[in-house]
């Protein structure tokens, strides 16, 4: 899959972080499949099948994003879990994902996305 075509879904309730991620991804040549602050919106975007990978905040204003993780896993879509929690504090649905602890460096995210998307 070609990197330039990769559409990334951002699931993040913190608008400042979401916008910053969006800018970062765009500047790195990714396409934005959508930005969801809430679970329902995120589920809708996953169901539309318009994304190739996702960055998911584990906690959306007190609501667990594990249904999004399960839906992504079910569709075989790779995703990064971005969270202030430690990995062992997260529900099982996030186990298969690549974990990045908040706060993180931008290039950590880019490297992780590239490794997921460039995988054959």
């Amino acid at each position: 899959m070609c990197k330039q075509l990769a559409r990334i879904l951002i699931v993040e309730d913190e608008p400042m972080i979401a916008l910053n991620l969006e800018e970062l991804l765009v500047s790195e040549g990714f396409a934005i499949a959508g930005v969801a602050e809430k679970l329902e919106k995120a589920m809708g975007l996953v169901d539309q099948g318009l994304c190739d990978a996702a960055i998911v905040d584990a906690n959306l204003a007190g609501v667990s994003a594990s249904p999004v993780a399960s839906a992504l896993t079910a569709r075989g879509l790779p995703f990064i879990v971005l969270s202030g929690y430690s990995p062992e504090q997260l529900p099982d649905a996030f186990r298969g994902a690549l974990f990045i602890k908040k706060p993180c460096r931008p290039n950590q995210i880019i490297r992780a996305l590239n490794s997921m998307i460039l995988k054959p």
């Binding site: 608008p15 400042m16 970062l24 204003a61 202030g84 931008p106």
Partner: protein, 517 residues
């Protein structure tokens, strides 16, 4: 011869004298028989002579007297009229008296008796009359008023014919013993009370059998076993230790170290309730025999609180990490602007984030009032509020997310107004309004920031961080819409968002409930 008394009269007088002498002799004989006389002194032609009457008996009586003088208990003899006939040295010391002063005197010159129980005196009298002896305790009040707790052994003394002739008492001062007993009794009561009332379980065990010999009431409450069920059981039988081997192991450790401590022992009570307990077992010596005391503390509640605290700490950590991620994003965005003002801008923005965070924490994440958010974000223009910064709106509680987003927007708006807008000169004014407007399908929360009287306004040439914050960022935070106008008269910003996104649900207070009923 005529003046001499008649012969018959003389014989009568001689007869009287002889009768008196006979009476005296009989009395003397009685006294000798009843051992009241040790010796006789006879006036003879060669002077007075002493005749001991009892030979070996007298010597043994003296020996007895010497023994009585040596014993530490007071020995007192009285006659039938309660007059003192004998006192030993211990009695002199015990009652602070002198033998010479009380011999032949009433016993009351030595002490007065006070009985401990109302019936005691009668019991003693009956025992003496019927059995010839009494043994018991009472109080002797000395002539100086001081009281002695005593234990007496009293025997009836009998004359030769067998009739009572007095009493012999051996009296022991047990005041010290009584005091010690009382102290022990009080101590026993005190520790009993501790044992009974303790809010920790206490078990006493016999180290030889490892079986429970006593359990306090708390222990029965903790486990749901009755006292009878607990006594005679081993610890593993009531679920405190896993099995008999663990019981043996505890005993071995106790012998080595005299104390064993088990933390976090999970325990199942009779009713099936899960308990967390902490057990401290000690091996003590009780007057030469060993005893194990186990203190069992129910730490279920403490564990629950610890668990809760752990969750809270994890939550605090998560929020801190999230906030740092926000700060990081703000820093990255700020870095896109003028490098010269980067540090100043970033510092201001972190200050704004901190002010909102402070309010959220103070309100326990249950939202922030619009007014308090404005006051926090416009802290630098505090003095202008009411004069050049006009606030217009009722009470409204923003959700945490809205407070954070709108807080950042207010910070950017105020910074811009201070640098280029209505608050950058001496007369410009800002009006901040907010309200809830009924609308279909959803009620809207409306907020606006309008400037006038500032320097003439021109739209910015470049979309910077500030534009992003008062635009897309705050729109995302409240799922709302913003409009910005750069009119000649001044800059204005408007936000509209569904009430359900921006405001905390109105909580029904007691008075509103009352109005509904």
């Amino acid at each position: 011869m005529r003046n001499e008394p008649p012969e018959g009269l003389i014989l009568g007088a001689q007869n009287d004298t002889l009768r008196v002498q006979l009476d005296e002799a009989q009395e003397l004989l009685r006294a000798i028989q009843s051992c009241e006389v040790d010796a006789l002194v006879i006036d003879s032609g060669t002077g007075p002579r002493v005749f001991t009457l009892q030979g070996v008996d007298a010597a043994s009586n003296r020996f007895r007297g010497e023994i009585l003088a040596q014993v530490s208990d007071a020995v007192i003899a009285i006659d039938d009229d309660h007059r003192v006939t004998y006192l030993n040295a211990a009695a002199e010391r015990q009652y602070d008296i002198d033998l010479g002063a009380v011999l032949g005197q009433s016993l009351s010159k030595v002490y007065q008796t006070r009985w401990l129980q109302p019936g005691d005196e009668t019991v003693a009298a009956i025992a003496l009359r019927e059995g010839g002896a009494w043994r018991g305790e009472n109080v002797h009040v000395k002539t100086n008023g001081r009281e002695l707790q005593v234990e007496s052994s009293v025997t009836v003394l009998r004359a030769v014919a067998g009739e009572p002739a007095g009493l012999l008492a051996v009296v022991r001062d047990i005041s010290d013993r009584k005091r010690t007993q009382e102290a022990v009794r009080i101590s026993e009561i005190r520790y009993r009370r501790l044992f009974e009332a303790a809010q920790d379980g206490v078990l006493l065990l016999d180290p030889r059998t490892r079986k429970i010999t006593d359990a306090n009431p708390f222990m029965t409450r903790l486990l749901g076993y009755s006292h009878e069920q607990l006594v005679g059981k081993e610890l593993f039988e009531i679920g405190l230790l896993e099995d008999e081997d663990a019981s043996r192991e505890m005993l071995r450790k106790l012998k080595d170290m005299h104390q064993v401590r088990y933390e976090d022992l999970p325990l199942q009570s009779q009713g099936g309730q899960h308990k967390e307990v902490e057990v401290v077992a000690n091996l003590y010596d009780e007057n030469g025999s060993a005893v194990i005391q186990c203190n069992i503390r129910d730490i279920t509640e403490r564990k629950r609180v610890e668990e809760h605290n752990k969750l809270l700490m994890a939550e605090v950590n998560h929020r801190a990490m999230n906030l740092l991620a926000v700060v990081q994003a703000v820093a990255q965005q700020t870095a896109r602007g003028d490098p010269v003002t980067f540090v100043e801008r970033l510092t201001e923005r972190i200050e704004g984030l901190a002010a909102s965070q402070d309010l959220l924490v103070r309100n326990e994440w249950r939202g922030v009032g619009v007014l308090e958010l404005i006051e926090a974000q416009l802290a630098h223009f505090k003095d202008l509020i009411g004069t050049r910064v006009l606030l217009d709106g009722g009470p409204a509680q923003l959700t945490p997310a809205a407070a954070q987003g709108i807080g950042m927007a207010l910070h950017e708006l105020a910074t811009n107004a201070g640098k280029y807008g209505a608050l950058s000169n001496g007369e410009g004014r800002v009006r901040i309004s907010w309200q809830v407007a009924a609308a279909e399908p959803k009620s809207l929360f409306l907020m606006s920031w309008s400037e006038e009287g500032g320097p003439s306004v021109a739209p910015p040439t470049r979309k910077g961080f500030g534009q992003m914050v008062i635009g897309r960022m705050v729109e995302k935070a409240v799922s709302g819409m913003t409009t910005v106008e750069y009119r000649e008269s001044g800059f204005s910003w408007k936000l509209s968002a569904p009430v359900s996104e921006a405001l905390e649900p109105v909580r029904l207070t007691r008075s509103t409930w009352g109005a509904n009923v």
